[in-house]
Symmetry: C2
DNA sequence: AGCGAAACGGACGGCACTCTCCATTTCGGC
DNA sequence: GCCGAAATGGAGAGTGCCGTCCGTTTCGCT
């Protein structure tokens, strides 16, 4: 049921041990990226995964494809969180918890998403997960506005703004990351409430494509 | 004549041409860091400054010392902006404009400050500018609270939170950076107003030392 | 068991960057 | 103008990482 048809098909042809190593590499990469930043040497990842460099390169032809794959997973998680929130009957609570969930994820991956977002080239694949998350969240926004809880001038780009902001906070402050993130999110959620709606100057021409350069 | 701080004294001994080149290097570095990120090759900076690599290294023994010096300048600018705001008779307006000014600076340096903050080792010098900025801003906060405009549970760390957040936004979004930053700042300023003060969960144990690892 | 294909790992060439060394040029006081 | 100290630039040694090549091991089907 998790559905990457083509990819799964290809991957299914992998021999059992290869598939196993692939997972190990992905895990090692996720952890390495999170703790040591995006430019950790490939060799380090390989060592951590208990495989040779060649194995790593056979599975992920370039460093970038590895990063992309890792990020793709993260993105899928976000999409799930959003869909989960869609089930919530209370529109504002849905909005709030979707935001909080996604931000908490960013805290957990300790800076990886931030590193990925701040500087990255072509990556084509996660189209689907991205769309899914974006549309789902748009729906959440729509409902929250309709219920009169979310300010009318809120736009999807504002959510991206929050995500970017949260990234900085999560990878900047070490173990304080969680508290810092929560505080920031709390502040912004307050600013997003309809009751507090005040002047608010310009609109941010910001789309996912600008946050993730790779898609352009 | 002498009796100046050691740095000035040292620098005053530089021959005229050397001092001139030093400035050129600093300018080149600022621009290079801003546009190409923190890991631009020393050679590129030297070329841009129109000097040889050796000259660069004579003036700044390590890449890090160069980065530190550039950042130190930026920090001093912030301190000035804060002191300027202190002259404002309207406490809330002072607060607001100090925040906006500093954030605008971050937009102008296009990600350099962000890059510096997100990943940096020992740097000892800017103590003074830092203190100056911090104390000045604390005073601004005090006044704004006393005037009943700034929410009572606001703390200095919240400002750092905002700075970090703003960094991410400014270097993430290219030419949209300015609009994005303004929008984010506007949202947060609204959340900071006393009138909107709402629950707001945890307090963020965050000090300048956590934002600038180098000082620890 | 036996065998072919798939997967493996480590060694290696190539490249980019940092920092040093030194022969040469430039400054600026006399 | 002259001369020593200061400053300079470029070549190059040292280092670390990327991505590939190839001889060896492991899988899994029969």
């Amino acid at each position: 049921m998790p559905g990457h048809p083509s990819q799964i098909a290809e991957r299914a042809q992998l021999r059992a041990d290869a598939e196993h190593n692939r997972e190990r590499i992905l895990d090692a990469a996720r952890e390495a990226f999170s703790t040591r930043g995006l430019d950790v040497p490939m060799a380090a990842i390989a060592r951590r995964a208990g495989v040779g460099v060649a194995t790593l390169y056979r599975r992920f032809p370039s460093r970038e494809s590895l990063i992309t794959e890792v990020f793709s997973d993260q993105l899928a998680s976000c999409a799930s969180a959003v869909e989960e929130a869609l089930a919530d009957p209370d529109p504002w609570h849905a909005f709030q918890s979707a935001v909080e969930k996604v931000c908490a994820m960013q805290v957990a991956d300790h800076g990886f998403t931030g590193a990925f977002l701040t500087a990255f080239p072509q990556a084509v694949d996660f189209e689907r997960a991205r769309r899914r998350a974006e549309q789902g969240f748009d729906e959440i926004i729509r409902r929250a506005k309709a219920a009169g809880r979310l300010r009318a001038d809120f736009v999807f780009a504002d959510f991206l703004l929050l995500l970017q902001a949260n990234c900085a906070v999560t990878d900047g402050a070490g173990d304080r990351a969680q508290a810092a993130s929560r505080r920031l999110v709390a502040y912004l959620l307050q600013a997003f409430r309809a009751e507090n709606a005040a002047p608010l100057p310009p609109a941010p021409p910001l789309a996912l494509d600008h946050v993730i350069p790779s898609l352009s």
